[in-house]
């Protein structure tokens, strides 16, 4: 599902994707850059602890508050899925 189809602001979602991939590159210390289509668990091995650290970094960088209580980790397969969630479930912080 694209950002347009979900009614999200595409520019804000892209901002979230850019910030997210940059933070993940640093947190995971990977040789290859993280991309939007990568699977969080299977490819990146993202633990729930690192996932929360990622959310906190995004909140700080984008100056938002994310509704983490609504985040169902099992439904977030890829980096793009998570970016869509953040773009749709956050407010200025």
């Amino acid at each position: 599902m694209t950002a347009h189809e979900t009614g999200l602001d595409p520019a804000f979602r892209k901002q979230v994707v850019d910030a997210m991939t940059t933070v993940l590159d640093r947190l995971l210390d990977r040789a290859e850059p993280v991309t939007e289509d990568m699977r969080l668990m299977e490819e990146l091995g993202l633990s729930s602890t690192l996932g929360l650290e990622l959310m906190l970094e995004l909140e700080d960088q984008l100056m938002i508050l994310i509704d983490v209580e609504l985040l169902d980790g099992d439904q977030m397969k890829t980096v793009g899925d998570l970016a869509t969630f953040v773009a749709g479930h956050s407010r200025p912080g």
């Binding site: 668990m41 633990s47 959310m55 906190l56 209580e69 169902d72």
Partner: protein, 315 residues
């Protein structure tokens, strides 16, 4: 049927902000922010009195139903997270028994299921009392067991479970009967997963992945055994591991978050095996439980293996 006759809880009024623990526990600024923002842990209780015996006594002192009934207490069970809390030959449990006039009772500690040991102790207490009655050893009316819990956060391991929770001091005392009609236990289910041994850390990532599904499974098992639907559960009394775990548990269970008693997490932290008892008292004080309401207590013990446990009660 196993029943809770009376519950008393002591949470020390002295609180320490999570930020103050960063230095002693070696927490990074990011870890402190995570605890505060997502785990919902703002401060934890620390009793300035270093005595574990006196900490337990403060909970027992509030157990009015014990006064004059000491002779009925046949067992004293001390449910504990940490395997060792005092140097030999000190035994805080026996000291508490003597101080309470319970020197005649058979007293022992239950610690093998870490923070899930509190629910195990209630089940054991009820079974012991029921077995005595079945064996015709019930020479006096209404024998009781006393289940104690509470610990001092006296080592780093007793203060912090990395990236997950911070322990707070406190204690509980609970009188259990075999055939009471108050807060009757309808079912108890537990699942011991020895492969999740935190000492080796070999399966930590898998434990993170399976934590919530495993807890949900044991909660559903207890509900099935009690023939109670989750929709009919008035409140869940959780272990106080952290907020985000229970927020996500509610998504998984499709259970309203406002019916999980999370009040004590921000100010008290994870009070070892006493969480469920503290949350029971809070539920009663807030008027969340009416006679006949069913409620579900849940706990996870992680240490030498992980134990997922759940208990269904009728108030």
């Amino acid at each position: 049927m196993t029943a809770l006759e009376a519950v008393s809880v002591y949470l020390p009024p002295e609180r320490i902000p999570v930020e103050s623990l960063a230095g002693p526990l070696g927490l990074t600024e990011m870890q402190v922010k995570l605890f505060r923002r997502f785990h919902g842990l703002r401060e934890v209780g620390r009793d300035p009195d270093p005595s574990l015996q006196r900490l337990l006594m403060k909970a027992a002192a509030g157990l009015d139903a014990l006064r004059g009934q000491e002779h009925r207490v046949r067992y004293v069970l001390y449910a504990r997270t940490m395997p060792v809390v005092a140097p030999y030959p000190a035994n805080p449990l026996h000291e508490v028994c003597r101080a309470l006039g319970l020197g005649h009772a058979l007293a022992f500690t239950v610690t093998h299921q870490s923070c899930a040991s509190g629910l195990l102790a209630i089940d054991m207490a009820g079974r012991l009392l029921a077995a005595d009655a079945a064996d015709g050893q019930d020479g006096q009316a209404g024998p009781l067991a006393l289940v104690l819990s509470g610990e001092k956060a006296f080592t780093r391991e007793a203060q912090l479970f990395a990236d997950t929770t911070i322990f707070g001091e406190g204690a509980s005392a609970c009188l259990v009967s075999a055939f009471g009609d108050r807060d009757r236990m309808l079912a108890y289910a537990s699942n011991v997963r020895g492969e999740f041994d935190s000492a080796t850390g070999a399966n930590d990532a898998r434990l993170q992945r399976e934590y919530r599904p495993s807890l949900a499974a044991v909660m559903r098992q207890a509900l099935d055994e009690a023939c109670v639907a989750l929709d009919d559960i008035r409140v869940i009394l959780p272990h106080n591991v952290n907020m985000v775990t229970w927020q996500r548990m509610c998504l998984l269970l499709k259970f309203p978050l406002d019916r999980v008693v999370l009040d004590n997490i921000p100010a008290s932290g994870h009070v070892f095996c006493a969480d469920v008892f503290a949350n029971y008292k809070t539920a009663c004080e807030r008027g969340l439980l009416r006679p006949g309401d069913r409620y579900l207590a849940a706990a996870v013990g992680a240490g030498g293996g992980a134990t997922f446990a759940a208990m269904v009660f009728e108030h």
